[in-house]
């Protein structure tokens, strides 16, 4: 049986995750348990949500450099306003989603490069987060804490959440008609437009959906940490981009994979633990993390060749 390139695209991230997991289990057998898996993966849940948000933006050929500061801002809102007056908190989140949609419209109408607009917005979100929480603090809403620390039978929460995120977004992006339009816009927006669709509407909706997932990431993060800090998620900008690419997505062409993105986020988190268990000195850790990324991307390059050959046949 010959595998399609799409399946291989998913096999590589899955195989790297399995390989890393096996290595971690070998080095630290204690991790091979309910609590162990939860400890390994629970911080991957907000990263997975942020990666999905980034993936949505990337599916329309854009890049969001404000992801980290936006998730930080959402975490601050969740730990302060959403906790004290839930209604106002929800309103702020709705406003934030509207701002994301507006960003999509602006980028489309003025044909601005998304990295410039989102880079600018990152300062806005960062400033708002500092205004909201000038010094670290706040309290997580008890329901967010309850969800993130829930102990479902048999399978730890972190795994359940990851599967749930992957399933829901797979449905939205790969199965729904909106998902097809979104990816189509990334692939060739002119043909989507000629077919009678409003590309501006699609972009706005995609951005809004990305905003929603980023908000969920912020809430999930606060649920884990119990309180927030204006700089809490700055790393998520690059982690989310790396997660998408690691999971088989591409920067252009609307080629994305939600399941791959979740796997990518889990792999990145696990790579950190793996290096820490290996006792690699921190001076080398960033380099080692980079090396893992390069190895996976090299595999991807081979995959792209295969794909091309498939097309030629």
């Amino acid at each position: 049986m010959k595998l399609s390139s799409g399946t291989i695209r998913l096999i590589i991230p899955a195989a790297s995750l399995a390989l890393l997991l096996a290595a971690v289990f070998y080095m630290q057998p204690r991790a091979m348990s309910y609590t162990g898996l939860n400890l390994l993966f629970n911080l991957a849940v907000p990263i997975a949500l942020a990666t999905i948000a980034q993936m949505l933006i990337m599916s329309v050929n854009d890049l969001d450099l404000s992801m980290g500061t936006f998730v930080s801002f959402c975490a601050c809102v969740a730990a302060t306003v959403l906790q004290n007056s839930p209604l106002l908190g929800v309103l702020i989140f709705i406003g934030a989603i509207a701002a994301y949609a507006g960003m999509g419209v602006l980028i489309h109408v003025r044909e601005l490069p998304s990295i410039v607009v989102t880079l600018g917005m990152s300062f806005v979100w960062g400033g708002l987060a500092v205004l909201l929480l000038p010094s670290p603090g706040g309290t997580a809403p008890s329901w967010a804490r309850a969800i993130m620390t829930a102990k479902p039978p048999l399978v730890p929460m972190a795994i359940v959440a990851s599967i749930l995120i992957a399933a829901v977004t797979h449905y939205i992006v790969m199965r729904s008609s909106f998902g097809v339009l979104m990816r189509g816009t990334g692939g060739n927006d002119r043909s989507v437009e000629r077919a009678g669709w409003s590309v501006i509407g699609i972009r706005a909706a995609t951005y809004a959906l990305a905003g929603l997932f980023a908000i969920l990431a912020g809430i999930a993060l606060v649920g884990l940490t119990t309180s927030a800090d204006a700089n809490i998620a700055l790393r998520y900008t690059l982690l989310s981009i790396a997660g998408v690419i690691l999971g088989g997505g591409e920067f252009v062409g609307g080629k994305v994979s939600p399941i791959g993105a979740v796997i990518g986020a889990l792999t990145l988190t696990l790579a950190g633990s793996f290096l820490s268990f290996m006792r690699i000195s921190p001076d080398w850790q960033i380099g080692a993390q980079g090396a893992i990324l390069i190895v996976v991307l090299a595999l991807r390059l081979a995959l792209n060749r295969l794909e091309k050959r498939e097309k030629h046949q």
């Binding site: 630290q28 162990g36 400890l39 911080l43 500092v130 010094s135 940490t225 119990t226 309180s227 809490i232």
Partner: protein, 335 residues
Amino acid sequence: MTIRMMLAASVAFACLGGTAFADTSSKKIALSNNYAGNSWRQAMLTSWDKITKEAVSKGVVAAADPFTTAENQATEQAAQIQNMILQGYDAIVINAASPTALNGAIKEACDAGITVVSFDGIVTEPCAWRIAVDFKAMGESQIDYLAKKLPKGGNLLEIRGLAGVSVDDEIHAGIEAGVKKNPQFKVVGSVNGDWAQDVAQRAVAGVLPSLPEVAAVVTQGGDGYGAAQAFAAAKRPTPTIVMGNREDELVWWKSQKDKNGYETMSVSIAPGVSTLAFWVAQQILDGKEVKKDLVVPFLRIDQDNLEANLKNTQKGGVANVEYSLEDAQKVITAK
């Protein structure tokens, strides 16, 4: 050499004390550190290595491994702490990236029966111990010193640290309180020096032309040398600049002192506080009753002990003291 003697003395002391070491010889302690990119943190890690290696070789504890996150981010440090739980450490000593954002991970550690001791960058989670510096008193002590040196008072320039960090707020609050107590002083300008000489120099140079005569500069450490350079470049008389124990600051102070009898003082937290945290963790593992909030004294250098401190400070480093078990016990029993 003195450290070795101090340690030997502490071992002897502990043996006299009875069972102090017997119970922790199988325990493993980890250091979770969020940043290693400046001279203070490097000195902190070196001190940790020096003291804990001795302790491990003497069998006080089974292991004392330092871990530093690759990037100074709370989320990464939370993951690091969760890894330590998996690795089965008995105690985790933390210099935290955020006082609150690690609370979830620290709660997990406490629930797993792990002793958590935070120092310098402390955490608010109630189940953890805190070894804090009274930064407010540190700010106030600068004004107290100046009030004695300049009884007539005068204009002050304040160099603050990194905006949004709690340490900056606390030192600033101390300086504010000191000025309120000594109304002959007036803060005429305030800049952010980010605890770095180059940033401080730029910031001071930028604000100097708009300032009247400045009698003294109050600082937060790591910014005094830059301020001195800015004053010299603007050809203004050098005010009394409070230093922050960095080697370049002490060297500059020494050269001025030799040249024209320049007088000032220098104050900061000693990076060796990591070793104090280590001993406190060891004592808690040993079953000692330790209250959750401990205060560590800051390290102050004055005109007469400048040379001695400078001699013990590494090039590009920070004046330092390492703590012994005895020091830790003193801090624990102090009110």
